[in-house]
């Protein structure tokens, strides 16, 4: 962030705060997106490992969480080790996750009957410490629970992602409630990248960074995960048309 870099007093104060709150030697490892524009908005230059992150779908996707699931799959695909995916509704389609770079051999699904069990499994997975990432599909995430999860993630250094899914679109207003998550994302679908021929191009999402601890809110138009789980910054609509026209000429 340019302001803090320019002002040594503020950066010193921030250091002191970090020392006060962050225990002794908290590792500030991050998992970067590899896109300068997005990483610059995130403190530390990426999604902090050993922290809880929250991802929800926007609009109609609040119920299905289809785009949100792929966004999460893309993130956890870039970690190492096994991934634990806690859920109650087994409707994920593994080939799609594999296409987002998350190989099916790496994912262990833990299916529970009750929402509370998902929270327990999530926390236990985070505390275990040997996993690459832990994902949980949750309807409700109360402040206390999210605090526990955040502490569990901090203790083990495992990245935890709460994939919020509601039963009805109305309930998605619950996403306004504060939680202890380090970052909070909302992923909505956008019309796909235009192609010079009839057909559907690469999917595009609107990724809203609603909250980032020690960072600012932002929003990005991104292209969906590729086969290695990397998103791309989508060319703006103008550019997109440009490209389309160019390729059409080329064709």
């Amino acid at each position: 962030m340019p302001i803090t870099a320019a002002n040594p007093v503020i950066s010193e104060l921030q250091d002191r705060i970090r020392r006060l709150e962050g225990g002794t030697a908290r590792k500030c490892e991050v998992l970067s997106f590899g896109i300068a524009e997005i990483d610059a908005k995130l403190p530390g230059g990426g999604l902090a490992r050993g922290a809880l992150h929250e991802v929800a779908g926007g609009g109609a996707d609040a119920v299905h969480g289809a785009a949100a699931a792929l966004f999460v799959a893309g993130i956890v695909a870039r970690t190492k080790g096994d991934v634990l995916w806690c859920l109650t509704r087994p409707d994920l389609f593994a080939p799609a996750l594999a296409q987002a770079g998350l190989h099916h051999d790496r994912v262990i699904y833990v299916e529970a009957d009750r929402e509370e069990d998902v929270l327990t499994n999530f926390e236990e997975g985070l505390r275990f410490g040997g996993l690459g990432a832990v994902v949980a599909e949750l309807v409700r995430l109360p402040m206390t629970a999210s605090r526990r999860l955040q502490l569990a993630a901090e203790a083990s250094g495992t990245i935890g992602i709460a994939l919020r899914r509601w039963r009805r679109p109305m309930e998605a207003a619950d996403f306004g409630q504060p939680t202890a998550a380090t970052t909070r994302w909302r992923i909505s679908v956008l019309p796909s990248e235009p192609l010079p021929v009839p057909g559907i191009g690469r999917a595009r999402w609107l990724a809203e960074l609603i909250r980032a601890r020690a960072g600012e809110a932002a929003e990005f138009e991104i292209g969906a995960c590729d086969a290695t789980g990397r998103i791309s910054l989508s060319p703006h609509a103008v550019n997109g048309q440009d490209q389309a026209r160019r390729s059409r000429n080329f064709a």
Binding site: A67, A73, P95, V189, I200
Partner: protein, 462 residues
């Protein structure tokens, strides 16, 4: 007559009838000598199998039954009903016709299983008294002379007997009648003495003063685990299933079971697994004896961990999976299955199954969420091979801006013969807002034999 098969029962042969009378009734009746010892030994083998598979406390209910204490073990099999139906079906798979009942007391479960024709009966907690009223007195586990004596007096059902004053009954038939009635209604506890074999590794600890605090129990569990692991080490075995049986001072038992995905001889890990369900123990007036048994053991292979200098150590996740499994959570990985039909090409495998590294061969984009069953949609589309122009799903009409397809999937006649000619044409479509769906038309749009030409929504793209 010790036992009859259904055909003989139909012909009028009853248990307890003299053999000569039965032979007089039916000519050519096939008689086999009763073999009580052989029966007992096969029931014992069956009981040992149930001990390993179902619950820590299993005993023989001679001459023809097995009794199990399933409290605290049913959640591992998805509840009481799935457990009992699964058990009865498993036995049927081995050619054994069994009837099962779950009730509050041994006596009532014994009676329910024998008195009714239904294969599976579950008496809800606290409804024992209501459900046993109409059962015949022969199901009370009384000696046959007492049963016939009671029948002479005109008693037919348990309900009639239980409302009769006890003193005259006790005077005439002894204390047995009252004891069996009390056992059935749960007024007298009837502990089940669990079956044990000679080669079962079991360590026990008795206390001179009954213990009750959770910390004390945890401490002694830790000590028992150390002893058990030492005993296992002598034999080179590891434990797959360990049972903790808690004997309380009021002569009742409780049991805890900890299962592991691989054979384990790790003291802290076993202790943690057993202690994780310590809150389920109700010490009552105190615990006088703890016993830890390794019900299922397997050879344990010592492995050298890889040096972190050379390679990154692979973290073994089985301890985590064990703790999930002992709380009754379902764990699985998904793996490709060779099928083109989308709902069939993903299979669940054990989370510790070997990682084969295969992948789904398709390069077509797939939706990230699939509906449990395809939902009907109304579409406007040009047949036979254009994506829809508009679709109505869950009451909302969407205009389709773009579409891809068709991707034709043929029915698998080797799975079901009705799929011989079935065809599905899959399209990916995108509406004006950018929502993408995976829809299909049943049939190729030309030949009605291939499908009904109705449209369905099957998945949602991210």
């Amino acid at each position: 007559m010790a036992a009859v098969d259904p055909a003989a029962f139909k012909a009028g042969v009853r248990i307890g009838m003299p053999a000569a009378k039965a032979q007089a009734m039916i000519s050519g009746l096939h008689l086999v000598d009763a073999d009580p010892r052989g029966d007992a030994s096969s029931i014992e083998r069956l009981a040992l199998w149930m001990l390993r598979q179902y619950t820590p406390v299993v005993a023989m209910d001679s001459p023809d039954g097995i009794v199990m204490d399933t409290e605290g073990a049913d959640h591992l099999r998805g509840g009481e009903l799935p457990m009992l139906t699964g058990l009865v079906n498993a036995l049927r798979g081995h050619g054994l016709h069994a009837r099962g009942a779950i009730a509050d007391t041994w006596g009532s479960a014994h009676a329910m299983a024998r008195a009714t024709r239904r294969e599976v009966i579950i008496v809800p907690v606290g409804e024992t008294a209501k459900s046993v009223v109409d059962l015949p007195i022969s199901s009370l586990r009384l000696p046959s002379d007492i049963v016939s004596g009671l029948a002479v007096l005109g008693f037919r059902t348990v309900g009639e007997l239980s409302t009769t004053p006890r003193a005259p009954l006790a005077l005439r038939f002894g204390p047995e009648v009252g004891r069996r009635l009390d056992q059935m209604f749960g007024r007298v506890v009837e502990p089940i003495d669990p079956i044990r074999t000679a080669d079962l590794i079991e360590v026990t600890r008795s206390f001179s003063e009954p213990i009750g605090a959770a910390e004390t129990i945890a401490k002694y569990i830790g000590k028992l685990v150390v002893e058990l692991c030492a005993a296992l080490e002598m034999r080179g075995q590891g434990v797959r299933r360990a049972d903790l049986i808690i004997y309380r001072v009021d002569n009742t038992l409780q049991s805890l079971r900890a299962g592991t995905a691989k054979s384990v001889r790790d003291i802290p890990r076993l202790t943690k697994l057993l202690c994780s369900s310590i809150e389920n123990i109700d010490p009552g007036f105190g615990i006088e004896k703890l016993s830890l048994a390794a019900t299922m053991i397997e050879p344990f292979e010592e492995k050298q961990s890889i040096s972190s200098l050379v390679e990154e150590t692979i973290v073994d996740v089985t301890p985590l999976l064990d703790s999930f499994g002992n709380r009754g959570q379902r764990m699985y990985r998904l793996a490709p299955v060779e099928s083109d039909v989308p709902e069939r090409n993903v299979g669940r495998v054990s989370p510790i199954a070997a990682k084969l590294g295969q992948a789904w061969p398709t390069r077509w984009p797939r939706p990230s969420r699939m509906l449990a069953r395809p939902e009907r949609i109304e579409v406007i589309a040009v047949t036979p091979d254009h994506p829809p122009a508009s679709m109505t799903w869950r009451g909302r009409r969407r205009r389709i801006k773009r579409g891809d397809g068709p991707e034709r999937v043929f029915g698998e006649w080797w799975v079901r013969s009705s799929e011989m000619e079935a065809v599905r044409d899959y399209y990916s479509v995108e509406d004006e807002d950018g929502n993408r769906f995976w829809v299909y038309r049943s049939g190729d749009g030309v030949d009605p034999a291939t499908g009904t030409a109705k449209w369905f929504l099957h998945g949602i793209y991210g």
